[in-house]
Symmetry: C2
Subunit: 269 residues, 2 copies
């Protein structure tokens, strides 16, 4: 079993230094709970509700900047795999909503969000590279970000590439909801898992930012699509922990002769 | 608003004549509740748990057989659109798990299950044609069957073709489940709706058959992915009814500048 954690924290808008401290504390807390994988929210380095590109640029960092340097130290000091979202300054001035997979050896992969939500497209460039799958000490870890999860074709790519677990930094703004029903953000995350037999950890954020509130629906889903922790509307900061059997993700049998990947019909789609 | 119904009945294995009566009664009951669309289970003409191909063949009928003739009369007499599953005898002796879309003008489309579950592949041939989308008096209705719903690429096809509602006959056998959580069959159905803004009605069955029980999780899901009726484990016969706004399915906006279909990246998948 692998102990995984989602640290639903409340980053401060436009304050990367404060957010580095916030993350250092959160990872330390998760490690004290024996977490081997720690997932952080989308744009945890910077906050989310930028008014314009200049404001976002002021909080952006290159992939070898102070934030990812710190995350590398945290991964090494605590012996964990860390996946989190940051505001990336690209090499030619463009900005990306990115996710990093970091382990004790350093940054293993950077992914840039390919499906931009709402006004993100006015500030950020979209990524064009497929979600990475990184072989780590605890298993094969993939990442993508928030709205990406709503495109099952995109989720299929790392799943077919053999990912055991998809670690997804998210910022799920609150919207219409129905009392007593599982938030649809969580429902879609469960389905992403279930139709691939791939565990998924989505880490949402807390903290009202320029009037925007968040679902706070961080969730740990096993490879059958069941919720192991979280998944309800919880607007405050929280650390979720659960034990996941990542070897289960390597068996795509879903009953009798049925194999959820082999039974696909790529001749038809 | 459109009143839709799912008639979760218990077909008798190997008795098409009895199952025709069962369906006639169910459709009549749904019509009394003002249903304009009635969805029936997978293989409602024949039952499911065939021991071998010979047994299935004895209950199979061509698409112009007595069962679909009756369904045409029921659609005309009650002024409804009817979608149900039947055991189809193909023109050259092959068998299919099929679904028919029938309206007062008669049979509008036949669909043959493309993804065969477990031992179905030992008895039935798989269909190779895409799910049909039929323009009816109540909107554009598509159909596919049970395990097909677990392949989001397949669900995307009728959604992109403009379906307002996907009517899915299913037979969901019981498996592992977690108390107090929504059955994963239902979760996947909600996600199918949510990532396409397309209403989905899945009609499950009742009745123990050769020791096999069914989830009884028939569900009516709106185009936002919310459950309007059903969706819990209910092994007995039941008729679900709900009012659906099918015009909502034609608006793919999911917030601000976000359009769940236009935001796809077909250049990448």
């Amino acid at each position: 079993m692998t102990k995984v954690a989602a640290c639903q924290v409340a980053p401060l808008l436009g304050d990367p230094a404060a957010n580095r401290e916030l993350v250092a504390d959160a990872v330390s807390d998760a490690a004290k709970q024996s977490a081997e994988l720690v997932v952080l929210p989308e744009l945890v380095s910077s906050g989310y509700m930028f008014r314009d590109q200049d404001e976002a640029r002021a909080s952006a960092e290159p992939a070898d900047g102070q934030t990812l340097q710190l995350w590398g130290r945290l991964a090494r000091d605590h012996g964990v795999v860390l996946v989190g979202g940051f505001c990336e300054a690209g090499p030619t001035g463009e900005l990306y909503i990115s996710s990093a997979i970091v382990d004790p050896s350093g940054t293993r992969a950077i992914y840039r969000k390919a499906h931009l939500w709402d006004q993100e497209r006015l500030i950020f460039s979209r990524g064009n590279a497929r979600p990475p799958v990184v072989d780590t000490a605890i298993g094969r870890i993939a990442t993508m970000i928030c709205y990406d999860l709503e495109f099952p074709e995109w989720v299929r790519i790392p799943a077919l590439a053999g990912a055991d677990l998809l670690a997804a930094p998210v910022n799920w703004p609150t919207g219409a909801h129905v009392p007593d029903q599982v938030p649809t953000e969580v429902v879609r995350t469960q389905a992403d898992s279930s139709v691939n037999r791939m565990a998924v950890v989505a880490c949402d954020r807390a903290g009202v930012e320029r009037g925007v509130e968040w679902v706070g629906g961080s969730v740990i889903v096993d490879s059958d699509g069941w919720i192991l922790a979280g998944g309800s509307r919880t607007p405050s900061s929280q650390t979720l922990c659960a034990d996941l059997d990542l070897t289960a993700s390597r068996n795509k049998n879903v009953g009798g002769l049925s194999d959820i990947h082999a039974d696909r019909r790529p001749d038809l789609y």
